[in-house]
Amino acid sequence: MTTDHAIADLVQPGRVHRRVYTDPAIFEHEMARIFARAWCYIGHESQLPVAGSFIRATIARRELVVVRRENGEIAVLHNRCGHRGALVVAERSGRVNRFRCPYHAWTFRTDGRLQSVPCIEGYDGTGFDTSDPALGMRPVPRVAAYRGFIFASLTAEGVSLEDFLGPTTAAIDNMLDRAPDGRLEIAGGCFRVRQRSNWKIYLENMHDGLHPMIVHQPSIDPAREGTKKPPTPTPDSAFALGVIAANGQTYEAMAALPVRLFPFGHTEMAAFRANPATDPEFRAYREQLVGRHGEERVARLLSDNRLSTMFYPSASVQATSLQMRVIIPEAVDRTLIEVWTLRLVGAPESLYRRTVVLANTAHSPSSLIKHDDFAIYARVQDGMAADGIEWIDTRRGMNDPSTSMSEAYIRNQFAAWRAYMTEAA
């Protein structure tokens, strides 16, 4: 078994050992020591509109159910029957009055407590106690939400969600400020894309400002051409082509993009100032906001653009493009990514339409952009698979301020990784 000491040695100043990406034993540790300890994003309150609304979630490979209780609170339960361990809920989302296990019809309240057992007299005198949490769908130790974004931790002890998220919450605040009704909602379905690589490889690409004009040249070139030559794109497609072409930033431009580093491995990358949309619908929307916040604040919040904010290790929010991405490790070399879109409640339809186009363009399984990213992730995994060369370099930008051209955010992730992985259980 890998000792903590050995694990600590895998992350060194300026380099990490390939085993952190390829060793199944390390992956098992990551599940138990990182994902089971951190606050992991599991869903948004808008997905739980009424009492009994539920969605499924996964943390550290544990099957969970997130449910709205009658009192409006949100409970996160292990999706596992207290009787013989059966998966209680198979649907990905839905609504129930109480949960019912399909095997012997034990039922559970939305707080997970055992509610009823057919022919319970069979347990007379066995000390069977329906109030025993072990017989219910056990709730996870800690659940908290920040302005609608629900997180859970599988460990009872630890920092509060607010302390955990720290400055990353500004990304969420900004999105909410942009919503005329001050509310966000998950809408428009979800992409679930599997990548054949370790979960960290995805995270390490998150703010990588050096790769776009290189990796994405195969989509940048035709997109740029498409914006000039026929066939004439529809407005939506023109926007999509613009998004693709936008990967073609110069190194200088990328070097000017700051990436902020936060505790617990969180990071945030700024976005380019979006040229203000000029269509009438957008102007009308802007007026709505001004009515709510006043001109000055609206100017500020609309210019406060974030490309992506990473809630290490489980999710990232693309604040400006209104997208949530959830990282679900399945195996040392397999990761499921869920992509959700957020709707600014009260904003004109055209804005959400843009969000949908952007999700289709940037992260659908058919995304012209992601094709090349995902191919790269797999090539990184494959390149490190065999032994013989053991170290990965992480020195870029070690002496510079953190920008999208620096690997500072990767070092920040690994600093958190090392702390989680070596901290006593």
Partner: protein, 155 residues
């Protein structure tokens, strides 16, 4: 050749162009206002309010073709083989387009791996001389709603 046989032949020829990588000639089969749509679930009716696996106008189709041919595109080449069947004309759309339904399976060979895709296809065809042009190609994958790896090729 009966009309349905002619339509079937048209769909076979369309598929062959994709399988041979003759993307330009395939692209030329579509009208200027065409859409290539792979919904994220069979009941999807609105590509603007829900995400789609593909939703492309000619400009985006053209960009995809550009990438498929780009010397630096990764995870390529992809080779496909379409098998088209159950071809049925199904009346006309409100705008008069001929509605054709079919089923397909497509073997995709990429990165030394063979994958199978399949499902239902609906074409909206516009008469064009003694042939047709495609105004809509909607592909409902059997596994729509599931987990996907990358989908680079047109179905």
């Amino acid at each position: 050749m009966t009309d349905e046989a002619a339509v079937a032949r048209f769909l076979y020829d369309e598929a062959e162009l994709l399988d041979c990588g003759a993307y330009d000639r395939w692209f030329a089969l579509f009208t200027e206002d065409a859409r290539y749509w792979v919904p994220s679930h069979p009941q999807q009716t609105d590509p603007a309010r829900e995400v789609s696996l593909f939703y492309e106008d000619p400009a985006l189709m053209h960009a995809r073709i550009g990438r498929l041919r780009h010397p630096r595109a990764l995870g390529l080449p992809v080779r496909t083989s379409h098998l088209i069947g159950n071809v049925r004309t199904d009346g006309n759309a409100p705008n008069g387009d001929l509605v054709v339904r079919s089923r397909f399976q497509m073997i995709e060979f990429v990165a030394e791996e063979q994958r199978l895709h399949g499902g239902a296809v609906m074409h909206h065809l516009v008469a064009d001389g003694d042939s047709w042009k495609i105004r809509l190609k909607r592909v409902d994958l059997a596994n729509a709603g599931g987990v996907f790896e990358l989908l680079q090729a047109f179905f």
